[in-house]
């Protein structure tokens, strides 16, 4: 039987078979490689968290071991600063209630990013809206050289796509010990500089509270923070929107954790 290869029926049939075959093969390979990819992502996350408490020698090979050495407790907070659950020991990538496995980026994308877009001109309203959403807030308690640190994961929006980071606070829950940021697609040489030491390094020693103990977050100041500003860092020239994104992310995220920090300080 001769098939008319230029006929519509044949063309549709060909397209349909092609799509099914490619779709099936891609799905298969993706499923097959998923555990490896997940593990690599988890290693990267551990390296980022360790980077924020200035453990610089973490590599993919020793990330898991170093992580269990330094990170003593993994917590989940709710919006009222209550500890919902807590966990320690080795991280199990399959365990969905492990605070380490909470996908803050996914929760941000689903629930918060549209609020950020809608209320970006009014921080107070934005914060109220964010507080009304039920999302989980992971917090990592670490110990390094006999000192205690708290690592806060955060997600925000840069110029082209998501930005995220980890900020570690000292035991007083006020002073920033270290910060590590990363991004997906910010402009190289401009916004992408947020992941460089010259930007991240500025955060060390800054305070998220003003001298009268009111919450102020860390401002990323365009044109440069004034000398002696304990709660401001310099923005990146030419990377204004990315810098604003970092500023917004810090303010919004730390404000939620602030509730927990205040409670802990009052208890002591």
């Amino acid at each position: 039987m001769a098939v008319n290869k230029e006929g519509q029926g044949y063309t549709f049939l060909f397209a349909a078979i092609m799509v099914i075959v490619t779709g099936a093969s891609l799905a298969m390979v993706s499923l097959e490689l998923k555990p490896d990819i997940k593990k690599n992502e988890a290693d990267k996350k551990m390296m980022d968290i360790l980077g924020s408490i200035n453990v610089q020698d973490a590599t993919r090979e020793n990330a898991a071991a170093l992580f269990s050495e330094y990170v003593k407790e993994r917590m989940v907070l709710d919006v009222n600063g209550e500890v919902v659950s807590t966990m320690d020991g080795a991280v199990d990538p399959q365990n969905t209630i492990d605070p380490f496995n909470i996908d803050v980026q996914k929760e941000y994308k689903q629930k918060i990013s549209k609020l950020v877009q809608a209320y970006k001109n009014d921080r107070k309203v934005l914060l109220e809206k964010v507080e009304a959403e039920t999302i989980q807030y992971p917090l990592f308690r670490c110990e390094k050289d006999g000192k205690e640190y708290f690592v806060v994961p955060m997600v925000g929006t840069g110029l082209w796509g998501p930005i995220w980071g980890y900020v570690s606070l000292e035991k007083d829950m006020k002073t920033v010990f270290g910060a590590s940021f990363d991004h997906k697609t910010e402009t190289p040489g401009l916004g992408a500089e947020i992941k460089e030491e010259m930007f991240e390094g500025q955060f060390e020693g800054k305070s998220i509270y003003d001298p009268s103990n009111a919450y102020v977050s860390i401002d990323v100041v365009k044109g440069g923070a004034p000398d002696g500003d304990m709660s401001g860092v310099d923005a990146i020239t030419g990377g204004t929107i990315t810098s604003n994104g970092v500023d917004e992310m810090l303010y919004r995220t730390l404000a939620i954790y602030d509730v927990y920090f205040k409670k802990m300080r009052n208890n002591e």
């Binding site: 060909f14 490689l33 990819i37």
Partner: protein, 230 residues
């Protein structure tokens, strides 16, 4: 009648053609020199500029393109009599997109640090003109074996230029080769750096990739007078 005989003779001839006949060899050697996709056809320049800061990235990028091109040329060549001509570009796109997604997954699973550095550029192989160009210009009209050879030639031609550019840029830009410090350590100020040598930061920026490719084109044309125009 005579026509059919001629055709069958041709068929026998083709079948008895050795695997590496002079014609087939040229399929590999041409793109390495006289018909290089980057320096002569000036295709695939975008990725050549973006990922040639380090040799390791360039090697993996070259390999990825080579693999995608070989598998794609083979697939397209096998299907060339089945593909409806009205949707052939779409079919080619689907084939290259599928292969690139596979390569991306494999890189993510087995060489995550390279995958992070290459980031979007693996995905951009889909739009690399070399690949669609070879599918449309060669694989659609040729048998499987020559198509694979053509892919090997063009893939290597691309990879070779990438690696050469990357070697120049990594050595002069960051004083390293494959990530190893070969002329002393910048942070400790040993080796050549103790004598006041400094890395040329301009080499790391994209314009230097273009200039390096330009120098390669210059050298190539100076050596091979056939390539000179006019």
């Amino acid at each position: 009648m005579s026509e059919t005989i001629e055709k069958s003779i041709e068929k026998v001839k083709e079948r008895s053609e050795p695997l590496f006949s002079p014609k087939n060899k040229r399929l590999i050697t041409d793109p390495l020199n006289e018909n290089n996709p980057i320096t002569i056809q000036v295709l695939g320049i975008c990725s050549a500029l973006a990922i040639t800061v380090q040799v390791k990235q360039a090697v993996f990028m070259g390999l990825s393109v080579l693999v995608v091109l070989m598998a794609g040329n083979f697939l397209i060549s096998s299907l060339r009599n089945l593909i409806p001509s009205r949707i052939r570009i779409i079919v080619q796109l689907v084939v290259v997109a599928t292969l690139v997604t596979l390569v991306d997954l494999v890189l993510k699973a087995f060489v995550p640090e390279v995958s992070e550095k290459l980031s979007v550029f693996v995905g951009l192989i889909i739009t690399n003109c070399i690949i669609m160009g070879r599918f449309e210009a060669f694989a659609m009209a040729n048998k499987k074996w020559p198509s694979v050879l053509d892919a090997v030639g063009n893939g290597l031609g691309y990879a070779v230029i990438l690696v050469v550019v990357a070697v120049v840029r990594e050595i002069f830009g960051s004083g390293k080769f494959w990530g190893y410090e070969i002329i002393g350590s910048v942070s400790e100020g040993t080796g050549a750096y103790a004598m006041g040598y400094m890395n040329n930061n301009l080499m790391i920026l994209p314009p230097m990739a273009l200039i390096t490719v330009g120098v390669i084109i210059w050298i190539q044309r100076a050596r091979n007078k056939n390539l000179l125009e006019g």
